[in-house]
Symmetry: C2
Subunit: 196 residues, 2 copies
């Protein structure tokens, strides 16, 4: 673990990861913190808890609140919000593409979250992902590379690492083994990275 | 619903309600907001979701994180934190006493949360509750009053009202029908109360 580095753990289906994805790069840069973008899958983590879908669907009161909370937070930050027809969406191919994008991952991630939560698009659709690659200025050839055994394994490994770090939701942040959960903890996590 | 009023919903077993209880009165007063303290029980709400205990016990990764998060937040705010042997504790009698305390509820609540989370005491024990009454300058005769049918019914009614407002966790805040969940949303809830 290098000094002034923060690992950003996110899942494409996660609403609150939209909030973080749209602001974390500027915030880290302003503090001179190196950011490592770490897509992972919450599905296996939820399944291990016996959940077959998002807790926001399993617990309707919590789900209703989450969408209202998102409305208020997006309005306060000047972020558009359009609730997609399907929630949670299958972010597997988006996550593989993000890994395949390498150094261009941040721009691609912002395009995917914007498509899903600002425009209500279906990010499991190939046509949506193609548009996101275009928005991020990336070649469509990444779609084939995203299906390579190396990329698939990298995403599995990353999810395993998330579990070993005690991650149970998204967005999460780690500085070494210190875990922070939720967009609400982004400032605290960045402060921690600065001091360690 | 009167202007500049905020309802504060809390459950005595809730760790994050400790954070809020210790600061909400000063924050509301500084903004000229009328605060209504509303103890309720999470037990029936959790039971309706099929939970037999706190989600922090049902989901160990989440529980470990919560205690670490509490450590960091308490340290940052200069609040002592001592993890009680039992979690969650049975806060039924504390909640009835809080209602019986009437206008002195805030001081009693701070004493109960301090006993539980700063000193690690068992708040289901009569001896602990007696000390809390003493700390708050209240008569021991409240213990009998707290077992009256009126107080018991008031707590049941309050829990029903919490459910009808969509409350699913503690601490929560409402301004009319607008719901805010978590100590992290206290500022936002107070700002909302000021504007409505």
């Amino acid at each position: 673990m290098s000094a002034r580095a923060l690992d950003y753990w996110f899942e494409f289906a996660s609403t609150y990861s939209y909030l973080t994805t749209m602001r974390i790069e500027d915030m880290a840069r302003a503090r001179g913190i190196t950011l490592r973008w770490r897509p992972f899958l919450l599905g296996p983590i939820f399944a291990a808890q016996g959940w077959t879908t998002s807790p926001f669907n399993l617990y309707p009161a919590k789900g209703r609140y989450m969408w209202r909370d998102m409305e208020r937070l997006c309005a306060a930050r000047g972020l558009p919000l359009q609730r997609p027809d399907t929630f949670p969406q299958n972010g597997l191919n988006a996550a593989r593409l993000a890994i395949a994008a390498g150094a261009d991952m941040p721009a691609f991630c912002r395009a995917v979250y914007t498509a899903q939560f600002a425009e209500g698009a279906d990010i499991s659709a190939l046509s949506t992902l193609e548009k996101c690659l275009e928005t991020a200025g990336l070649p469509l050839s990444l779609i084939e590379r995203a299906q390579s055994p190396e990329v698939k394994q990298a995403l599995r490994d990353q999810t395993d690492t998330a579990i070993s770090l005690g991650i149970f939701g998204a967005p999460s942040f780690t500085v070494g083994k210190e875990l922070f959960w939720g967009d609400d903890r982004l400032d605290q996590a960045l402060d921690h990275a600065l001091r360690h």
